[in-house]
């Protein structure tokens, strides 16, 4: 997949590191939107009133333009096939 993938949550770096270890290692960076709390989620419009972020995907192209937005139900994980399809459109 011709893209850099990152995960973002309001968790601390410590929590993200512990989670990554529990998952057995992951291949992309987990970023801590931790201080100021949720500032990036707020800028992207996905900070919930409870202080956590929505479950949401953004695809940003090589020029820094938002090309795809998907805000998901919190209980539902996005289907990665959709991501592959959207990235293929940018190729």
């Amino acid at each position: 997949m011709n893209a850099q993938v990152v995960g973002i949550s309001v968790d601390s770096k410590h929590a993200n590191r512990a989670w990554a270890e529990k998952l057995g290692g992951i291949t992309y960076p987990l970023l801590s939107d931790f201080f100021p709390h949720g500032a990036v989620a707020e800028a992207y419009g996905v900070l919930r009133a409870q202080g956590m972020s929505e479950r949401a995907l953004f695809i940003i192209d090589a020029d820094g333009i938002v090309r795809y937005i998907d805000v998901h139900e919190l209980r539902e994980a996005p289907d990665e096939e959709v991501l592959f399809e959207e990235l293929a459109k940018l190729a």
Binding site: A3, Q4, Y44, E54, A77
Partner: protein
């Protein structure tokens, strides 16, 4: 809370962003090194930002 996979998007825009907008730049601490990750440094390749509610809550 069971996490299932699916395609039921709630929205394809947010209160602050829609497709075609410049992505707000940011720089955050990454879990796998002492360094930071900055969006602007990724110019020239596509980027997928995956926001998730909390660690330890499924994928």
């Amino acid at each position: 809370m069971a996490i299932t996979k699916g395609r039921t998007s709630v929205a394809n825009f947010t209160p602050t962003l829609k497709t075609g907008d410049p992505a707000p730049d940011f720089e955050l601490a990454r879990h796998d090194s002492e360094g930071t990750w900055r969006l602007h440094d990724q110019r020239g390749q596509n980027v997928v930002l995956a926001f998730y509610p909390f660690a330890f809550t499924g994928t």
